[in-house]
């Protein structure tokens, strides 16, 4: 049997995978294969022939299992039905085979829209009750297995929902980033045209004029030359203004971006930010990056209804707090918290993540640096 690690190594090294690209990062798909062990509980293993039979049943199952992830939803009905049939056929021979019916229900709930998922899970449950009932298994076995089928179906339906939401959010973020880039490009083009273009035209014309006047021995060339110098300095000043317009206040820009991202994720943004004046550009960049990471986590994983972003100065300390009222996400650690801590340390600060009802990420950093 192919173990998850070897499959993953193969994917990295040869761009080859048991799973299609859209599921490639879902290690859970491999992990849930652990429940195949239930099949072996009580499987007839007393002879070489029965071991071979059991093993080939599992191999057939694995083929169908991975096939269902590769196929389009409608077509995937075939391998999922195949897994259900395998379960239905083998359950009378030994009770552990009912695990295949669980897999059929969970696959359908994960891969299909919820209505079809419910229909498929109900069909799997009915098949199980029919087959196991007529095979004369005790009621306790029927009850426990029914509960397992229903629970597994519900869990995978929920998993599908989060996967869909996270994918949608990902798309929206990409869209938002594209819009930002496009408007930035327009702004640069506009500024180049209005400020630099006009100045440079003037310099070119005056240079021509001065050259011609000097060549003809006319007065005025000297005046044109000094005006060219002035125009060039004006141009440089415009360049400075344009450039500083782009790099100034990354934190303010990040705040408005955060607001948009939270709104898109259905989280109400509450922003109470007074960016202190004494913040150096470097500090501001690092704080902006931490803010982005924290807000992305809230939007993606917290299932919050609101998120408060507070930025203020307390004595000589910059305080940034991102507080949400979500599920205090269990899976929060590992979602960039290390990166946030590292960035906080870069500006001599400390990052604290506290989970209670929601999650609060708070950063405290000294303000005197570069002020």
């Amino acid at each position: 049997m192919l173990a998850p690690p070897s499959a993953q190594t193969a994917r990295r090294e040869r761009q080859w995978s048991l799973l299609p690209r859209r599921h490639a990062q879902s290690w859970e798909i491999y992990a849930s294969l652990i429940f195949v062990l239930f099949y072996f509980a009580g499987a007839p293993m007393n002879s070489a022939a029965s071991v071979a039979a059991s093993a080939s049943a599992v191999l057939i199952f694995l083929g169908l299992y991975f096939a269902s992830y590769w196929l389009a939803p409608v077509v995937a009905t075939a391998p999922i039905a195949g897994i259900a049939i395998l379960g239905a056929m083998l359950t009378p021979a030994h009770p552990g085979a009912s695990v295949f019916l669980c897999y059929a229900a969970s696959l359908a709930c994960y891969l299909f829209p919820w209505r079809y998922g419910v229909a498929a899970a109900s069909a799997a449950l009915a098949t199980f009750l029919l087959v196991a009932g007529s095979a004369g298994y005790p009621d306790s076995y029927l009850a426990i297995n029914s509960i397992v089928i229903v629970a597994v179906a519900a869990i995978y339906m929920q998993a599908r929902r989060s996967a869909v939401i996270s994918e949608r959010l990902h798309l929206r973020e990409a869209e938002l980033a594209a819009i930002h880039r496009a408007s930035e490009r327009r702004r640069i083009a506009h500024d180049l045209h209005d400020q630099l273009g006009q100045h440079l035209v003037l310099i070119a014309l005056k240079a021509d004029l001065g050259r011609k006047q000097a060549a003809a021995g006319m007065p005025g060339a000297e005046r044109e030359l000094s005006e060219i110098g002035a125009a060039a300095r004006d141009t440089l000043n415009s360049v400075r203004r344009v450039v500083s317009g782009y790099s100034a206040r990354p934190l303010l820009k990040e705040l408005s971006h955060a607001e948009e991202v939270l709104r898109l994720a259905g989280v109400e943004p509450r922003i109470d930010a007074q960016v202190p004046e004494g913040l150096s550009e470097r500090q501001e960049c690092f704080v902006a990056l931490i803010l982005r990471e924290a807000v992305t986590n809230v939007a993606r994983h917290a299932r919050a209804s609101s998120c408060t972003i507070r930025i203020c100065a307390e004595a000589c300390t910059l305080v940034v707090e991102i507080t949400d009222d979500g599920r205090g996400a269990l899976r929060y650690d590992g979602f960039g918290t290390d990166g946030m801590r590292e960035r906080a340390a870069q500006i001599g600060g400390k990052l604290d993540v506290r989970r209670d009802k929601g999650t609060r990420v708070s950063l405290r950093a000294p303000l005197d640096e570069g002020a």
């Binding site: 273009g197 006009q198 440079l200 035209v201 003037l202 070119a204 014309l205 005056k206 004029l209 005025g220």
Partner: protein, 200 residues
């Protein structure tokens, strides 16, 4: 024969430089310089310029609007529009209005003077650097649209070359590619197809 020129440019320092540059040509007579297109338009009947040289983008009345107004009020007055940057659609709009020249504002003074002389003599002068690389409104490039415009006006390859500052051979090559692109057998068919599709 002197050419009476009227200059319109909203930025006063640039206007002064343009006027001073044109004045250095003995065959030009600068009839006036205006920072406002509407004022220039009102002065045209009294000043009777042969050529109006105007910036294209100005607050208030634009160079294109000025050209349009002049076409009705002073059809004998030719127009040269000046621009700093290529912008899709401008040159086609200008050609539609029958302007004589479309030149870079920072053209070398000799090029500018020659352009004005050519336009005064009834020829076309279009700066290829001002043709936008892509134009979303048509599937033709702006250069192709300009080529077709000039073909439709009955210009030969040599005359088109002179108008665009390109050699006759280059125009011939461009035309071959253009015909193949729109699937036309000859120049006349190409114009017909482009007109039918609303590209011109």
């Amino acid at each position: 024969m002197t050419i009476r020129v009227l200059v319109v440019e909203d930025q006063k320092t640039v206007l002064a430089a343009l006027v001073a540059l044109l004045k250095l040509n003995s065959d030009f007579e600068v009839a006036g310089g205006f920072a406002d297109a509407a004022e220039a338009l009102a002065a045209v009947p009294a000043l009777k310029p042969d050529v109006v040289v105007s910036d294209i983008q100005m607050p208030g009345m634009s160079g294109l609007e000025l050209a349009q107004a002049l076409r009705g009020q002073a059809p004998n007055c030719r127009v040269v529009l000046l621009s700093t940057f290529a912008r899709a659609g401008y040159v086609q709009e200008a050609l539609r209005l029958g302007i004589g020249g479309y030149l870079l504002k920072d053209s070398p003074p000799e090029r500018l003077a020659d352009g004005i002389r050519a336009v005064a003599a009834g020829r076309r002068q279009i700066e290829s650097a001002l043709l936008a690389l892509d134009d979303e409104s048509t599937s033709l490039s702006e250069r192709d649209c300009v080529l077709l415009h000039l073909v439709r006006e009955g210009l030969s390859n040599a005359e088109i070359g002179a108008a665009l500052g390109l050699s006759e051979g280059t125009v011939k090559n461009l035309m071959t590619v253009l015909l193949a692109n729109i699937g036309a057998k000859n120049r006349i068919e190409a114009c017909r197809i482009a007109e039918k599709k609303g590209w011109l």
